[in-house]
Structures are given as structure tokens and as C-alpha cells.
């Protein structure tokens, strides 16, 4: 991993922690794969290093964030610029090393409008299925920064659902691989029960999707575990 990108990621997390934001937002997306290595605490657990510059944070609905923190202003001196994505007004913070975005679970029929986060001076993209990521979380401490992430089982099963909805085939392939890698690591570390527990917590429709994803991946060991 490029050290410049990693240093910037840590600085963003440090600043969020200082503003007491980190206990109210969940780090999701491909950065989790990096930090999961500290969760598993096994030297041989390493996940694919292929990832984009996106760093995504999940905010629960309703948001627990109380005090106002102007995120664009907080990160301005690091070189982040506000970017409006698409014609609906979604906000992103762009930097050559990182692209920061907030996401919220989509509720009801769903909408294509951004969800306002006035306390952060940002808005968020509502996405289907991501409430599953906040249902079971873990916290790791990296350089004294407490980082909340989805439990690896929830992260992987979520990836197995969404890779089938991806339009870009390469991205789907990346998600599918990440899911199988994380599930295999959980089994290897004796955490099979957490996979079963996460699997049993989802509706039947989602389970079918997960199974379909596992069959496509030919992940027979995991299929046997969940059957």
C-alpha cells in the first residue's frame, strides 16, 4: 500500500476521532480489509491489496451525531475538495489519494435523493442492504485510534449479496473474491459460528442470494457450513 495514502487515511481518522465522530460512524468498504488484519491477529491472514481510493463511512439512520463538525472544513487543509457527484447533489470529498463519502441505509421504497447530514456539513448516499453492516460491529484500535467496522462475517455476506447487483463485472469479481477471502479467514481462525449467526439473522430472500453467490464462487466449504 502506498504509504502516502495510508498516512492520509490515518490523519482523517485521527481528526474524526478528535472530533468524537469515530464512535458514531462505521468504516465500511475496502479499507476494512486492511484493518481486519488486526482483528484476525494472525500473521498469515492477508487480504488482496487491490482497492480503489474510496473511503466510505456508514452513518446510522437516524444519525447519532450530535455536535456539529464541519467535515469539509476539518479536512480542507489536507487538500480535500468538495465534489458534487451526479445531478442529484451527492457530496464527496476528493483528494488524489482518497475519496471520502458518507453512506446511509436506504429505507422504504428508496429514493435517489441524498440524505442530508447537516451536523457534518455533508450529505450521504442511501444504499440498500447496508443496514446489515451496522447490525453487528467490531472495534479495533490502530495507533490508539478506535475504529468501528462491520463484523467480518456481516461484511463478507453483504459483499456476497451486492456483487450480484454490480453493473461492472470487474467490480463484482473484486467483491466476490473479498467475500470468500474474509469468510475463509473466519473459518481458519475458528470463527465459523459468527458466519452461521450472521447468515441466520438475514431474511430468507437474502440467504438465497448469499447461497447463489457462494455457488458461483464454488466455495464448497462455506456452503457446507451454512447448509
Amino acid at each position: 500500500m502506498e504509504s502516502r495514502q495510508f498516512e492520509l487515511c490515518l490523519e482523517v481518522l485521527r481528526r474524526f476521532n478528535k472530533e468524537k465522530l469515530l464512535d458514531k460512524i462505521i468504516l465500511i468498504g475496502s479499507w476494512c480489509l486492511f484493518f481486519y488484519q488486526y482483528y484476525f491477529k494472525k500473521e498469515n491472514v492477508r487480504f488482496s491489496a487491490i482497492k480503489t481510493r474510496d473511503i466510505d463511512f456508514l452513518v446510522d439512520r437516524p444519525s447519532k451525531i450530535r455536535g456539529p463538525v464541519d467535515v469539509p472544513e476539518l479536512l480542507k487543509d489536507l487538500g480535500f475538495v468538495v465534489q458534487f457527484k451526479g445531478n442529484k447533489g451527492y457530496l464527496k470529498l476528493d483528494h488524489p489519494e482518497l475519496i471520502l463519502e458518507f453512506l446511509v441505509p436506504e429505507k422504504g421504497r428508496g429514493t435517489d435523493k441524498p440524505y442530508p447530514l447537516p451536523n457534518l456539513g455533508m450529505n450521504a448516499v442511501p444504499l440498500r442492504f447496508i443496514s446489515f453492516l451496522s447490525q453487528n460491529t467490531i472495534q479495533i484500535k490502530y495507533q490508539n485510534i478506535p475504529i468501528i467496522m462491520p463484523h467480518p462475517a456481516n461484511f463478507a455476506l453483504h459483499k456476497l449479496i451486492i456483487f450480484q447487483r454490480r453493473i461492472k463485472k470487474e467490480k463484482a469479481e473484486k467483491d466476490r473474491k473479498a467475500a470468500v477471502d474474509v469468510l475463509s479467514a473466519l473459518i481458519e481462525c475458528g470463527e465459523s459460528r459468527s458466519i452461521i449467526h450472521a447468515y441466520n439473522s438475514v431474511p430468507e430472500k437474502w440467504r438465497k442470494k448469499i447461497m447463489k453467490g457462494l455457488r458461483e464462487s464454488e466455495a464448497n466449504e462455506i456452503i457446507a457450513l451454512l447448509s
Binding site: K51, T52, K174
Partner: protein, 106 residues
């Protein structure tokens, strides 16, 4: 289908092109020039030093308060930062375009 790596690179190229535009727009919004302070008979007067067609021109701003001065100083710092990052983005675009030129799926 492109390979996974090429897919990621193509997405990164899209992002970098968008970012280049963002930095150019952000630079366009910042006030041009840098603050120059001249001390005349014990009083400090502020000027905005700006390069116009190879020559440096000084625009008189008057006696500015500390807060107003700080705004110009901050803008100069941010502009330098954005320029550096814009140059980084341009290099990324060049690199990514080059990497995607090959026909082989990776």
C-alpha cells in the same frame, strides 16, 4: 470483460479526471496573488501582488485587519496545496492512461 486490475484502474482514471476538474475549479475560486505588506512611516499597508503577463502588479488593499490578512495568507497556502495536488492528479492521469493502453486483460 476487463481484468479486475484494469477495471480498478479504469475507475481510478474516471476519478482522477473528475478530480482534475475539481481542483481547477477550486483554484479558479481562490483569490489570485499573494499579500504584500509595506511599512510606510510606521504604518502597514497591504497590497495584493499578482503576476499579469510576466509582470508583477501590486493592487492596493489598504490597512487590513488581522483577520482579513489571515484570509489572504490562508488562500495562498491552500492555493499552493491545490496546485501541488493538481500536478499529482495530472501525473496519475498520465500513468493510468498508459497502464490502460495495453490490450491484455489483467
Amino acid at each position: 470483460m476487463k481484468g479486475v486490475i484494469k477495471g480498478v484502474l479504469a475507475e481510478e482514471l474516471e476519478n482522477s479526471v473528475r478530480m482534475k476538474k475539481s481542483y481547477e475549479e477550486a483554484l479558479g475560486k481562490l483569490p489570485k496573488g499573494s499579500l504584500a505588506i509595506r511599512k510606510i512611516r510606521g504604518h502597514e499597508y497591504c497590497y495584493l501582488a499578482e503576476r499579469v503577463g510576466g509582470k508583477v502588479r501590486y493592487k492596493y488593499l489598504g490597512k487590513l485587519s488581522g483577520v482579513e490578512r489571515q484570509k489572504y495568507v490562508e488562500a495562498t497556502k491552500i492555493r499552493a496545496k491545490y496546485r501541488k495536488l493538481l500536478s499529482q492528479v495530472k501525473k496519475q492521469i498520465k500513468f493510468l492512461k498508459g497502464s490502460l493502453r495495453g490490450k491484455q486483460a489483467i
